[in-house]
Amino acid sequence: MRMKSQSIRRLVAVGLVLALVVIFAVTTPTFFGMRNLSILLKDSAFLGLIACGMAFPMIGGGIDLSVGGIICATGIICVHLSYDFGLSGYVIILIALVIGAAFGLINGIIVAKVGLTEFVATLASGFLFVGLGRALVFKDAGGRAVTRSISSDSYLSFGKNPLWENGLYLITVVWIVVAVGLYIVMKKTKFGLYTYAIGSNDKAAKMSGVDTTKIKILGFIISGACAGLAAFLVTANLTSSPAALGDGYEFRAIAACVVGGIMLGGGKGDTINALLGALFMTIILNGIYKFGLDSTYVYIIQGLIILLATAFDSQFAKFAAKRRLKEQRLSDITPASAS
């Protein structure tokens, strides 16, 4: 039995991550230090959360360009809730989830009900969410924008300090719990299966009685909820909500998904791919800083990664299709033995 192209693609992603680990382990002796690893896992958590959420619309054949906007708006709302109303962090995290999900619902409705294409709808709604975030910034008496720090202990406990010295951050734990949960949803539930179905062949799924509208909307809700959760955690880590919060996150999440092996166009990949991609992106970005390179290279490298990964995938898909055709011809001549 030959290997499935999906497994090959995942091995490539694992190989990429391992190669990075080796490079950094050799060049920086502190790489395997507990402190470094815990920070690395913390940083991967933000991106990982967003990417795991984004995986749903992407596997369903779409894309969600509004997650940056969702993070921007949800982040500032979270800080308001803590600063103005003094709510506990445990309450706010739930509210953040709900707000993110609500934004996702808006996306889902304009895509699945109104009938806009995914990228137009989420690009437009992304503008709206960013606008909402900007409109909600804190102002001083003179009307100038200021940043407010979070002082609530319960809020900060999520992101400011690790659970124990040089240990895991709560953010990382949340990420792992969510990633595992979403993996189960994706692989074990009807909804997960239908997401693959609509990404692979929308029409056929409809013919088989799948409610494609509902599945699409749910996918966007998951993506939005993950972004909302990430927004809360980011602000907990930064102890405030900067005005440019979330800027470029949609792009970084797409990059993570694509590098990890979730193909544009849908139907292939899962949250493990997103997870691998997030690790890869974080290690490489941390490495850039570690090598003392200017932050400007971050942008360039991210862009190049996305171009190279998608170009690789498009060529890989061609190769896989060719191989498949050859195998089918072979099996046409010599019938395979029963399984």
Binding site: K4, K188, T189, K190, L193, Y196, A197, G199, S200, N201, K203, A204, A205, M207, S208, G209, V210, G267, K268, R324, E327, Q328, S331, D332, I333, P335, A336, A338, S339
Partner: protein, 522 residues
């Protein structure tokens, strides 16, 4: 029967009663159907037994698909009665049909390439427990099904790695998993290779043994001999008759399908212009076309017949330059034909494609722009500058000459009727006075009135000395319009007909790979 009981039932429903495997399964009595006042089915009778393969044949528009759609609840009948197991039943929608055990395998498959065989079989009807899919249970049942029908499938293989024949098996299994007792197959072999088709026939035989009734719609006579127990032929909305296995022979069947050959006044053909000729030599394309040779002359309409999927469309695409042939040469007046579409167009070629919505017109552009789009070699001579006046006059003349309605050059093509859309595409080429005009199924979805006009335009163009090549599945049209007819069978040139020899029956026989016996008469 006792053995049957031991096999685990796949569906959650109907587990109590043992399945019937004998006797009458379906009976349609006096089914009538009207579409906006026009009768398309005339008191059609049809019946099926358990464990029987009952083929259904007829030309396009004979009423086969209407009958199927009534049985499967897509259409409502306007008269008559359906019986299942001898009991009168009402099938108001596809869900009713499914509940009664009627399943259809459509031409375009409804499978999800990225999901496994098992996931596809259970798509839309998963077994779940506490919100989770019960993979193991579904897998076991799939395995049981595969074993029961003696198929050769791996339940965990993604469908995209399967051959077309295997995918069809999965479709069949999907139907059977829903306890189908009647499986309707609509031209299942149209996308299969010969060995794949053989594979399918074996499966069908297996299903038969298990008592499943199969209604098999096809255009291919050889398949009917191969697998059918009975054959019902339809024509113009009526059931002409039903033949038992030993009564089925090509001559009888084609006679039933065509009825009395209508002798039509053949139009006066223009003298053949030997100066203008298109020669195809040894042309092959992929696995689809093999060694095609023919010559088309100016002044004549050359018809190309054959079944859908026989390679007709690929042949004309190769001539036009949009597909690149594997081997062979195409020459026009002695010069090799270019492989660039634009060069061929400038050299006087034109193609009215099969699927006008996908390949023909730009729906969100005006009639004017759609007519002019192929003629900017004439309309924009200097530096690619377009003369608006020239363009307008060109379009208005074409609209006048070919009677395009509405006569508003700024009307968007997407809002036009099918016939007028086709006229726009035809006018696009005729306005250029083409030297080689290729038409692929020019009258599909075009009403009768416009059809006659299209034929007239083709004839006029031929009379001016052009080469006209027309691909068509409509036998009447092929015989009436063409001066000469080539029939392609499974990608190979099969036979050529001219004059008196070109009858609907002879073409139909040739399309099915049957030779007309020398001197035989109807």
């Amino acid at each position: 029967m006792a053995k049957e009981k031991n096999i685990i039932k796949i569906s959650e429903t109907d587990t109590s009663e043992p399945r019937k495997t004998e006797g009458e399964l379906l009976r349609c009595e006096n089914i009538d159907k009207l579409f906006s006042g026009v009768q398309v089915l005339f008191s059609a009778d049809f019946s099926m037994n358990y464990g029987e393969v009952h083929a259904l044949m007829g030309e396009n528009g004979a009423g086969k698909s209407t009958l199927i759609k009534i049985v499967t609840g897509v259409y409502h009948k306007d008269g008559g009665q359906l019986f299942i197991d001898g009991e009168p039943v009402e099938v108001d929608n596809p869900i009713d049909a499914r509940a009664l055990g009627i399943a259809v395998i459509y031409q375009e498959l409804s499978l999800i390439p990225d999901l496994t065989v098992m996931e596809n079989i259970y798509l839309g009807q998963e077994l779940t427990k506490g919100g989770m899919r019960q993979k193991k249970r579904m897998r076991n049942r799939t395995l049981d099904l595969i074993k029961k029908y003696e198929l050769n499938l791996n339940p965990d293989a993604p469908v995209e790695v399967l051959s077309m024949a295997d995918r069809q098996m999965v479709e069949v299994l999907k139907a059977l998993s829903q306890d189908a007792k009647l499986v309707i197959m609509d031209e299942p072999t149209s996308s299969l290779s010969a060995s794949e088709a053989e594979h399918l026939f074996k499966t069908i035989e297996g299903l038969k043994k298990k008592g499943v009734g199969i209604m098999y719609v096809t255009h291919r006579l050889e398949e009917v001999y191969r697998i059918a127990d009975r054959l019902t032929v339809m024509r113009n909305g009526e059931v002409v008759g039903t033949l038992a296995k030993d009564e089925i022979n090509p001559r009888t069947v084609t006679t039933m399908m065509i009825g009395r050959e209508i002798k039509t006044e053949r139009q006066e053909r223009a003298p053949r212009n030997e100066e203008m000729k298109l020669e195809v030599k040894g042309l092959s394309y992929g696995d689809i076309l093999k060694d095609i040779n023919f010559t088309a002359y100016g002044g004549e309409i050359l018809g190309i017949g054959g079944l859908v999927g026989s390679g007709r469309t690929e042949l004309v695409h190769c001539i036009y330059g949009i597909k690149k042939p594997k081997t062979g040469t195409i020459t026009f007046n002695g010069e090799p034909v270019s492989r660039s579409v634009i060069k061929n167009i400038n050299n006087g070629f034109g193609l009215v494609p099969e699927d006008r919505r996908q390949e023909g017109f730009n729906p969100i552009q005006t009639i004017e722009k759609n007519i002019c789009i192929a003629s900017y070699d004439v309309l924009a001579k200097v530096l690619g500058l377009v003369g608006a006046k020239k363009e307008r006059e060109w379009a208005e003349k074409a609209m006048e000459d070919y009677d395009i309605r509405p006569r508003d050059r700024n009307f968007l093509v997407e809002n036009m009727s099918g016939g007028n859309q086709q006229k726009v595409i035809l006018a696009r080429w005729l306005a250029r006075k083409p030297r080689v005009l290729i038409l692929d199924e020019p009258t599909v979805g075009v009403d009768v009135g416009v059809r006659a006009e299209l034929y007239r335009f083709m004839r006029e163009s031929a009379a001016k000395g052009s080469i006209i090549i027309m691909v068509s599945s409509d036998l009447f049209e092929l015989v009436q319009i063409s001066d000469r007819i080539l029939v392609i069978h499974d990608g190979e040139f099969f036979e050529e007909f001219e004059g008196e020899k070109a009858t609907q029956q002879s073409i139909l026989l040739a399309s099915s790979g049957e030779y007309v016996e020398e001197g035989a008469r109807l």
